[in-house]
């Protein structure tokens, strides 16, 4: 009985640690000067709630880089419905938009009524009632953020998405690695895998239910696929050599990957159901980091066949590869925008490694970050933001940059080194 209690205590400690495990906070490093001023009035009745809905909405909109929520202290009045709004107050404050609302408890549910108002047009754009259980309040707030974002920008909001990432704690031979999934705002962190051996390259299945990743838990790299909700997982590859860089096809049926079993890393495509693999590349070089185009007709990948890493595009009908990056001596880890017109990548210049964007039609490259240790870009499913890994001192942290480079944020982690972020598809 004593041993059972010890086990139970250890398990509880592990669970507590994983739940309490450092949430990622958000810091602005650079605000866009084109951010839209918006006033989000605290919801009437909102103080009684376990989660502050207006604050979540304000943080969401701010983190998108496109909105500049007015500070709470500057709010002249606190109307809770459009009937109580005196538009001139808000015009004077310079706010373009106004969000007001109220929350009521009904039995064991919360009833959130909100309205989005156009300050200059002096009219109501959106009004809705959202019902939520106490445990779903954050979800409800993110839903409202999505509605507001889309009503104003015309772009679908990505506030109900998640981020997968790897955390490493410790030094030398005593590093503990965890694979984590958190809400896009850093909350509700969940550890989905713990290991004494490295974990890297998490990749979301298109249906948002599974993560493929690389784990060294068997003593060398292998590719796994794990169902996030159930924890059930399967090891898909354990070939000799490197098993790396899994990338899901848009229909979720195939995984592209980099395998070095035939001598050096090459791009292969595996049919997930049958486990059949087909080899795509045949160079003596390192070919890795594949990524499918949104239309599924081509893949981009990194190859150093020209001497240094550059990005190539493999056409699945012609089975031909073509180099697509020509600026600078190191370009790798390409990721498509959702519309397939742009790729985001890691590029190196004299200062270091940055996140860059290249228009596929014009081949014009724009560097988006001025930090020097940037890697692992992953694009939001609405194409507006890129999350990436970077360094603060020798500490690994995540960064966010808007696709046009105008706004950037840091997500400092109070605990360990954070790296290899992957933005989920739309989950709502």
């Amino acid at each position: 009985m004593k041993r059972l209690n010890l086990w139970a205590a250890a398990l509880l400690l592990m669970l507590c640690t994983s739940i309490a495990h450092a949430e990622l906070t958000i810091e602005i490093t650079q605000g866009s000067d084109q951010a839209i001023p918006i006033a989000i009035v605290p919801m009437e009745g909102g103080d009684a709630l376990p989660e502050k809905v207006s604050r979540i909405i304000a943080n969401d909109l701010e983190r998108s880089g496109r909105f500049d929520p007015l500070p709470r202290e500057s709010l002249i009045s606190q109307p809770s419905s459009s009937d109580d709004v005196y538009y001139q107050d808000w015009q004077q404050l310079g706010s373009d938009y106004l969000v007001v609302g109220k929350v009521e408890q009904q039995n064991d549910q919360y009833r959130i009524q909100y309205e989005l108002l156009n300050v200059n047009g002096e009219d109501r754009m959106l009004g809705e009632i959202v019902t939520s259980s106490p445990g779903q309040l954050r979800e409800g707030a993110h839903y409202i953020s999505n509605q507001i974002f889309e009503a104003i920008t015309g772009i679908r909001g990505a506030f109900s998405t998640s981020i997968a990432y790897v955390r490493a704690n410790g030094v030398g031979d005593n590093i503990k690695y965890t694979l984590n999934v958190a809400d896009a705002d850093g909350h509700n962190n969940q550890v989905i895998l713990s290991s004494d051996e490295p974990i890297l390259s998490p990749a979301w299945s298109p249906d948002g239910q599974k993560l493929a990743y690389v784990s060294f838990e068997t003593g060398r790299s292998a590719i796994y696929v794990q169902n996030i909700a159930t924890g059930q997982r399967v090891r898909l590859t354990s070939f000799e050599g490197i098993n790396g860089a899994p990338a899901w096809s848009p229909d979720g049926r195939k995984l592209a990957m980099s395998l070095s079993k035939d001598g050096q890393p090459e791009i292969y495509v595996m049919d997930v159901a049958s486990r059949d693999i087909k080899r795509l590349t045949h160079s003596e070089a390192i070919d890795t980091e594949p990524e499918w185009a949104p239309n599924g007709r081509s893949l981009i990948f990194t190859s150093d066949r020209s001497g240094n890493p550059q990005i190539y595009r493999y056409n699945l009908s012609s089975d031909q590869s073509q180099r697509i990056t020509f600026t600078g001596s190191y370009n790798s880890r390409g990721r498509f925008s959702p519309d397939g017109d742009t790729i985001f990548m890691v590029t190196r210049d004299d200062q270091g490694f940055h996140i860059a964007r290249q228009n596929l039609e014009t081949d014009r490259m724009t560097i988006l970050t001025d930090s020097n240790w940037d890697e692992s870009p992953s694009v939001a499913p609405n194409g507006t933001m890129v999350i990436f890994a970077t360094q603060e001192g020798t500490r690994g942290v995540l960064g966010l940059v808007s696709a046009d480079g105008s706004a950037s944020f840091r997500l400092p982690s109070p605990d360990g080194d954070v790296r290899s972020p992957a933005w989920s598809p739309f989950l709502d």
Binding site: G172, I175, G241, T288, E289, T302, P309, S332
Partner: protein, 178 residues
Amino acid sequence: MQFKPYAQGLAVAVSLAVLAGCSSTGGTQDGSMDGTSGMGAGTGSGTASGQGMESGQGVSGSEMGDRNAIPEQRTIYFAFDRDTIRPEFEPILEAHAQYLKSHPNTQVVLEGHADERGTREYNLGLGERRAQAVEQYLNVEGVSSSQVEIVSYGEERPAVRGHNEKSYAQNRRVVFDY
């Protein structure tokens, strides 16, 4: 990785002892660090200090202890963006080759590593290339491939953390893991 000690030919034992004397641990690493700091400027690899290598320390009492021992120096280092074996490390590789040839049932994992610069998956490839260069050297020396396995950790298991050439140089390595 088990090894079965058994009687050695005298010539093999002597060469092992001499090589053991050549492989002083700390000295070699420091020497190679100085050598690599010139890498960016293209000064080449010949400047590594001969501290442990040619100092003529010969055989010290403690190193003579076990002639069947796995060579002490188990890490070799590489220049930036390179997977070529540097001359100052050849004696170490020869020692391991001798050891492996005389212990044909012994297996070793060559762990390949890269410095932190660049992307993680690409760095898995760089680490592997370095380990492959070591394996090739061992093969040329007569070691059977069946005794050697390669695992690349890329930048995932740094020996040292830091955004400077000194740290990078200590991370670009292949480790013999018996």
